[in-house]
Every structure is written in C-alpha cells, then in structure tokens.
Amino acid sequence: MAVTYTLISSSVLSSTTASVTFSSIPATYTDLMLKVSGRSVGNGEWFGSLRLRFNSDTATNYSVRSMTATPSVGYGEETSISFFYGAYAINGENGTANTFSNAEIYIPSYTANQEKPFSMSAAVENSATSQPFRTESASLWRNTAAISTILVYSDANFVSGSSFYLYGIKNS
C-alpha cells in the first residue's frame, strides 16, 4: 500500500514532440507511477497508442495483456513484443478539440531483482463521436534489472500541452 507519493520529475510539452524519456531514475523508492495526459498528432486519427520502453531494452521482453472497452463493444488482446504497447491510450488529432487522454502506469518494485509486472489504465476521451475508449492492461517486463530509464512514445507525435509526471512511491 502506497504511503507517500513524491514527484520525481515531470515534463509538459511546449511543442510537438516524438518522445519523452525519464533518465537516471533514482532507485530510492518502492514503486513508480507514471501519469500521462496525452494527445497525438500525425496519425490522422482520434486515438493513438501509448508505448513504453524500459532501459532501452529493444528485445522481445514485454508481455502485454489488455482489454479495451467502448460504449458498444469490448475486446482483449495478448502479445509478447519488444516494447509496451497500450492500444487506444491517448487522444488523437481528430478527436474532440483540446481533449487529452488520461493514462496511469503503475510499476511496483521497480528495483527488485525480478521480472517487473506493471499495469496501465487509460481513457481516451472523445465527446464528438460518442466513442471514448477505456483500456486496461496487465503487463510484464521480462528483465530483472532495476528500471532507470523510461521512454514514452506513441504511434505519432505528442502535441504541445501533453504532460508526463513520474512519481516515486515509498511503502514506509
């Protein structure tokens, strides 16, 4: 159970940006939480995927199991892949103007000498088409190294105003 939340670092974009990297993440916390409020531009759609890569690991070490729900249907997918892939996790350029998604990634025991399970909960807002999406995923980074770098990117670019907040959480 989280007792303390400390903002480690944040970034609020002032221009269109392809990726945000949190580097030199201190190993002094128990868990990490990454909050992303994002909107993409460049894919011509009203949604986009949120992607993560830990410690620059490009091997197929990420297991992703996710469920996505819309007002009318839901579906799940499961894969082993070379990056975390959260489908339908950020807003796209064709969605309701000036709306941003809410995504929260929780990484427990990020320094433990074990493979790293983590979760994502995200909502894509779109009042214009009545098609907001909700995506929940349970994932595993199959690597025992402490997480010291997190690369955040998408299938397109993040627009100005997208924000990224990385929190450290201690259990005592």
Binding site: T21, P26, V73, S82, F83
Partner: protein, 99 residues
C-alpha cells in the same frame, strides 16, 4: 464487432504510413531525474529507425488481434444461429458458449 475491428485495422494501416513521414522531423525530450534538467534534441536516425520498426510490429499485432476477434465473432454468430435452428454445434462453436 466485425465492423469495428475492420475499421481499426484500416486506421492502423493508414497511421503507420503517415507516421513514417512525421517522425523524421520530430524532436525528443529527455528529463534527467537526478538533476531535473530537461533537454530537447532531434531524434537520431537510429531512434527513427527503431520507432518505424516498432510501428510495423504494432500494426502486425493489431492486425493479428483483429483477425482473431473477427474469427471469434463469426464462431459465435454461427453457434447462435445453430442454437436457434436446433442444429448441433461444432466443438469450436461450443467453446464460445461454455466457460
């Protein structure tokens, strides 16, 4: 459900093509958590290549998921129709109904 997945599949195909055009001029932000310093740099050629490779992987994954969902929906539709008309189900069709 089938329509939804078909739409998503076409969306991802289009996205991948457009993305490869936009990434080449993009920048990246690096936040050093030990100092709080934020650095803005252009993407390197290697990073662009990696992102393009990731896009292809994601598109393939999305297509695979869409095809699986479409196949499952077809099985369910077939099972439902057979139940209504009193015909026996195949094992695959029964699996979609029995948990």
């Amino acid at each position: 459900m089938q329509i939804l997945f078909q739409v998503h599949l076409s969306i991802y195909t289009a996205s991948k093509t457009h993305k490869e055009k936009t990434m080449t001029t993009s920048i990246k932000v690096i936040v050093d958590c030990s100092t709080g310093e934020e650095t803005i740099l252009p993407l390197t050629a290697e990073e662009i290549t990696q992102m393009e490779a990731d896009a292809l992987v994601a598109a393939a994954q999305q297509e695979e998921a869409a095809q699986a969902a479409t196949a499952l929906a077809a099985l369910k539709d077939s099972a439902k129709a057979k139940l209504i008309s009193g015909q026996p189900l195949t094992a695959e069709e029964a699996d979609t109904l029995v948990i």
